[in-house]
Amino acid sequence: MKYLIALIVGMATGAAAFAMLLYYNPLVAQNKLSPLSVTDNELISLNYSAVAADSLVYTNDGNSQITPHPAKVLQLWERPIRKTNAMATVLKDSRNQTVGIGIKFSSDSESSNILNGEVIVDSVWHIYLPGRGSLFVEQQENFWGYLREIVIPAYWSSGDSWRGIWNGNTTSGPGAIGTATVIGGSGAFRGVRTEAVEALAAKAYSVDRGPVAISGEITIEVPRPEPEATPGP
């Protein structure tokens, strides 16, 4: 009997040790430097509040931690869309001027793998900037850093909340250097194919309500028009 107890306690210890190794794994670090920070091209910065109550509309399955907004919005309770959330929000530029509307669909990804520090969400943005045109952004986002540094500490906290300053890129693909794919649909962006990075800046998180003070930023690289070829001498 004592051997069986030793085996069970040993297994629990081993599993706990492995969980701690995963949590503190220094090899899986959040990328805090934007891959677009070294570009010479123009960058469009679109900012939004990642707090559901600040959005125009935020909806999910209705049983998740984040409460849909407004309260009477249709919820995504059907089985094929239960692991999806939808948000419509106002987008602002770096001077805090309203520049457009963004709609984001995010779905939990089957490519998530905790062993590699990957909590992946497949997300797309449908963006309309009046006077400029429309854009579609496709990306995979990795929320492992966000979970590890904000959500889990909030659960461990006696106040069931987290406060601090956290900045991190959530975009992890499909671009090889961790960038999103951006496709221009209309207006000045028609035919444009470029890259973007989405980042979060968090200040407060609550176990009961989810994000309390978190803002998001989508940085889109605008490629320069290619110079017209001139005939040789």
Partner: protein, 191 residues
């Protein structure tokens, strides 16, 4: 007994690794796709939105009854001619399989825009730009400008059409927006 404890630790680590490796963290439920395959290897698929049941949001200025109730659409001249909508979308069996956004806009500085993003969580997304002028027969045609995951290798046309309900049934929708996709696999470079 100490050896048993050490063996237990190793077993616990192996079990944790195996569990995380073999048990999927996320398993998106996928409805059976209702795709019709054609002899040219293309395929067509129909989706629809029951109106008003599947409408999540109508974002437009000067609405007497905003949807959802409590929606605070931005009061800004920029959005005077913009209409953004969110829907649930259904397959041919009338089962919800995804969500979609539709943005329609006209602006003095830019052309009329009618666009869809169809997002099917288990399959991927399709970004569709429609021709603003409707075709004969009351439907509108557009192209899939970009597709992700399952739609990434496809190209083709998408149509949208409003079909009013004529059943007269009390609990029937007012009508439906029918979205039909006709996709074919993109030609790969021959080299």
């Amino acid at each position: 007994m100490f050896k048993t404890f050490i063996a237990g630790i190793l077993l616990g680590i192996v079990a944790a690794v195996a569990g995380l490796h073999f048990i999927p963290l996320v398993d998106q439920f996928r409805e059976q796709s209702m795709i019709v395959v054609h002899p040219n290897q293309g395929n067509t698929e129909s989706f629809h939105v029951n109106v008003p049941m599947d409408r999540i949001m109508i974002g437009a200025p000067t609405q007497n009854n905003p949807l959802p109730p409590g929606l605070g659409w931005p009061v800004d001249e920029k959005f005077a001619d913009t209409r953004a909508e969110l829907f649930k979308i259904r397959n041919g069996k009338d089962t919800v399989v995804g969500v979609a956004s539709r943005i329609a806009a006209s602006h003095e500085d830019s052309v009329d825009i009618i666009e869809w993003v169809l997002h099917l969580p288990a399959r991927g997304s399709a970004y569709v730009t429609m021709h603003p002028e409707p075709a004969e027969g009351g439907y509108r045609v557009g192209e899939m400008t970009w597709g992700t995951r399952e739609f990434a290798a496809l190209e083709g046309l998408v149509t949208e059409q409003w079909v009013a309900d004529v059943s007269g049934s009390e609990d029937a929708p007012a009508g439906r927006i029918e979205i039909t996709t006709a996709f074919v696999r993109q030609l790969a470079d021959e080299e």
